[in-house]
Symmetry: none
């Protein structure tokens, strides 16, 4: 995994795990890879992983079981809320950043439509 060096790594790991849960790669009740395994997979230090997991635990996204590992919350509502929150955060950021550049609502939609079309063409 590549990290953006402008943002704390533990923070990017949090977002990575958020995503795994939302797309179902990690289902409710699933055990996360061992902390040390995650550290190897992500080529970061164990403590950095711990920091990310620590925050996820305090957010009730994952639940630790002593000596067994960390598990994705069984509460599907929590996950559903998380998904909506992440999506809205993204939309909000795009919207506000483009508005600060004096781009109008309609232009934002057009730009996005164009962007998507271009990606399709490149792809095909």
């Amino acid at each position: 995994m590549k990290f953006d060096d402008k943002i704390p790594i533990y923070y990017q790991i949090k977002n990575y795990i958020y995503r795994q849960i939302i797309i179902g790669e990690l289902a409710p009740g699933d055990k996360l890879p061992a902390v040390r395994q995650l550290a190897v997979d992500l080529t970061v230090n164990v403590n950095t992983v711990q920091r990310a997991l620590g925050e996820l635990i305090s957010e009730k996204i994952i639940e630790p079981q002593r000596g067994k590992g960390n598990f994705v919350t069984e509460d599907k509502q929590t996950i559903e809320k998380l998904k909506k929150l992440l999506i809205t955060d993204q939309l909000k950021e795009l919207y506000e950043n483009l508005h600060k550049l004096n781009v109008t609502d309609q232009e934002i939609l057009n730009y996005l439509q164009d962007y998507i079309n271009e990606r399709k063409q490149v792809q095909s």
Copy 2:
């Protein structure tokens, strides 16, 4: 100005100045506020402002004139390119982040449309 404490402040200042230039708040050839003034306005340390300006200078977005201050580039094409780059970066980030959450192209557009509509309603 509020800063996101996950991202270096000097970096956020750079983006702030990019925006001022793109929306014409700072026109080509305009003199930027004095470094010390910017530091006061942004409630930030002078060194931090200097670091942001240093990078803008090496990117040719602004040009220093000895003893006079810093001036926005006269090259309108550079500014136009900058604007496109910033917009595309935003779109790309939204698009990729939502795709990582398994949101389809059409859904992205719908979500954005919904988001914009909701904002309008709140506003009015």
Copy 3:
């Protein structure tokens, strides 16, 4: 049983058994539940129970009999002393912690009286 995750579980199990003995749930000479049974009851690993019992044995609170199990000491004085010790430890901890918050002797008593009164009202 719920465990405080800031304190070693074996330590909390020790206190749990202390209590069972003091309130007579486990009388002098009584056989303790089998280690494996305790582990199930407390939803804890057998090793953890063993560690707690090991310390209780070295404190002469319980006595192991080869192949038969562990038995509560017959020495009632030992139990009586244990009770006084536990109570005094509790009082000492309360007293010292509140004194560190600059609460006076009289205030401690008042606070406790108030606390007890409130509990009664909630109950009734």
Copy 4:
């Protein structure tokens, strides 16, 4: 400072700072000693202090100012609530632990009164 080796050090540091704030040793708006200074004073590692402070920050008890240090919240209500919470937690723990030993409400009060009297005598 002496630490109880059954409880995480970072947790004991949190409580230590809680106390300093409640007794006014650290007043609202006061700057805390530098992280590295605290580490020296408490003879623990800087990271351990950081962990304690990190939690105090997320609890809004202290506020970090980038590059300047950490400051006690100016919100006296937050501090007042904290004090009440700490006292109630102590009372609750005493009460519940003694009740588990079958000590009655009246006995708890008597024991505490006796304990306080004894301490006075020893002192004088």
